[in-house]
Amino acid sequence: MATVTRPLPGQVVREHRSAGLWGDAWGRLRKNRLAVLGLIMVIILLFLGIFGPFLAPWPYAYQDLKAVVAGGSGPLPPGTPGHPLGTDQLGRDLLSRLLDGARISVSVALVVQLVILLIGVPIGALAGWFSGRLDNLLMRFTDIIYAFPDLLFIIILSVVFRETAFGRAYDGLLMIFVAIGLTSWVTVSRLVRGQLLSLKETEFVEAARAIGVQDRKIITKHLLPNGVGPIIVAVTLGIPGAILAEATLSYIGIGVQPPRASWGSLINDGYKYIRSEPHLVLFPAIAIAAALASFTFLGDGLRDALDPKLKGKQ
């Protein structure tokens, strides 16, 4: 005879249900204050990157010469009417240029990671899935890329293609995307390979094989959901690196071509006036620091949330 337990009148039954991999991860992420801060900052940055130029008071290259002459021909200080953050020595509005710089940084952040995924995931997956000779070959290849001093490679590449149509495309940004992407995909491909190698040996994959699940289904139902977490983390934590590389290149005068300016080139331009007008360096520096910090916080939080075992490790 089956006994059915039913709740007593007035007893509250609380069902404990797991919210699933992503639900659990979101729950953990929400409790991490730094990660939430990072997420909010990332959302603001994305918003500014997409809509900033529409909100900007002036076009980024517009020179308000009248105001500059009236102000004694030099950079205008913050708080000047019409120019809340002041202007550079050519009368270009700093706020508008910062907002355009946000768009550049956001596009660097996203496009470079896309390039990295497009190169890194297939190579890593091939190496991991067909282990053996191909694996060996591909991994030796990543060794070479890894040993290449990446900043130097990006600089050579940018200089080589600077005068070509490719180098000028999208104000020189296309070049930067590709160059940074080409030097940074190795981490992701090694990660994907390692994930595949270890997941292939797990019991649940073996079990799925044993009951005759097709390869395609094993990949989509088992390998991908289990392997995608670390890749998301690596991509998020790779973003600050890409933003930093772009800022550094623009700072040394390679990269975005004038009159467009990224945060790095704004710092380079403003450095000449550092004694009298430190805001020209200060504001872009704050913008870069905020962007780097936001993605680092979010990436750290995601890592802890997606894999609690790895908490605190790299």
Binding site: D143, A147, L152, I156, I252, V281, A289, A293
Partner: protein
């Protein structure tokens, strides 16, 4: 052990070969040549110069000649500084760059590791918050921005240190700090995480329960074990210092190798550019081997294979 090290060291050769081929091809793909001046040289002069330096020969031949000379330690003549060989130029800047790198490395280890240990011992109290803030700042501040801020505060405002150059110890302070900022943050973070991980281990509980004094648990069990994984990030740290010094040298106007690098690209000084790239690539590859070997040496659980 010796076999492992030898194999790893030999592997550097194909890596350098690949780097040299890629750089060589890229470099010659750049429009313009080393003789481009504001005033166009007469064609005959240019042709004679090309012949003199072997630039009129096919690329693979030029590469072969370069490779043979490189293997024997001859880096070739500089195209831009015509009275000097590349060996002289590299020798001039090399030690400055190495000195800057070593000082920054020492500073980041000396500051980063204790910061991380203190943070873990004072977990969720002020030492932890201090370390976390320092590492957030360090990670969020690109080295060139840190360099500019240091110059503004300590050279321009306070006048304590010179703004640039490399003539004595007072010139070394700001560049070293600027270069070490990021590694300090990374090392501190990593040490802290590693220490917290070790704190939860069984052998720590055992040590405590058999009555070992807290101080010796920390110094003999925790720190020694926690530092093992930290060695792994020293590799990326060294690689960062190698390429990072290049930006710092530029900001502080330091006559190291990095200074010549951009000039070499801009003036198409082929031999100088090749030499610089090879040196950087070798430094990165070699330091990686050193760190891997060191790691295996410190942690006997890791086998050389």
């Amino acid at each position: 052990m010796i076999r492992y090290v030898t194999r790893r060291l030999l592997w550097i050769i194909p890596v350098l070969f690949a780097v040299s081929v890629i750089t060589f091809l890229l470099m010659h793909a750049v429009p313009g040549g080393p003789w481009a001046r504001e005033k166009q040289l007469p064609d005959a002069v240019e042709a004679r110069l090309n012949a003199q330096y072997g630039l009129d020969q096919p690329l693979y031949e030029q590469y072969a000649r370069w490779a043979v000379a490189f293997a024997t330690g001859d880096l070739g003549p500089s195209y831009r500084y015509q009275d000097r060989t590349v060996n002289d130029i590299v020798a001039d800047g090399f030690w400055t760059t190495v000195q800057l790198g070593i000082m920054a490395f020492a500073l980041s280890v000396i500051v980063g590791i204790p910061l991380g240990i203190l943070a873990a011992l004072g977990h969720n109290r002020w030492p932890d918050y201090l370390t976390t803030s320092v590492s957030i700042l360090g990670i969020a501040t690109p080295s060139f921005i840190l360099a500019i801020m240091l110059i503004v505060v300590f050279s321009v405002q306070l006048g304590w240190f010179p703004t640039g150059g490399w003539k004595g110890p007072e010139y070394w302070v700001l560049p070293t700090i600027a270069l070490a900022g990021f590694p300090i943050a990374v090392i501190a973070r990593y040490t802290r995480a590693s220490m917290l991980e070790v704190t939860r281990k069984d052998y720590i509980r055992t040590a405590h329960s058999k009555g070992v004094r807290n101080q010796s648990v920390v110094s003999r069990h925790m720190i020694r074990n926690a530092l093992i994984p930290v060695v792994t990030i020293l590799g990326p740290t060294l690689a960062f210092l190698v390429t990072g010094s290049f930006i710092i040298e530029r900001v502080f106007n330091i006559p190291g190798m990095g200074q010549f690098y951009l000039n070499a690209i801009a003036t198409r000084d082929y031999s100088l550019l090749m030499a610089m790239t090879m040196l950087y690539a070798f430094a990165v590859a070699f330091l990686n081997v050193v760190v891997d070997v060191l790691y295996a040496y410190i942690d006997p659980r890791i086998r050389y294979s």
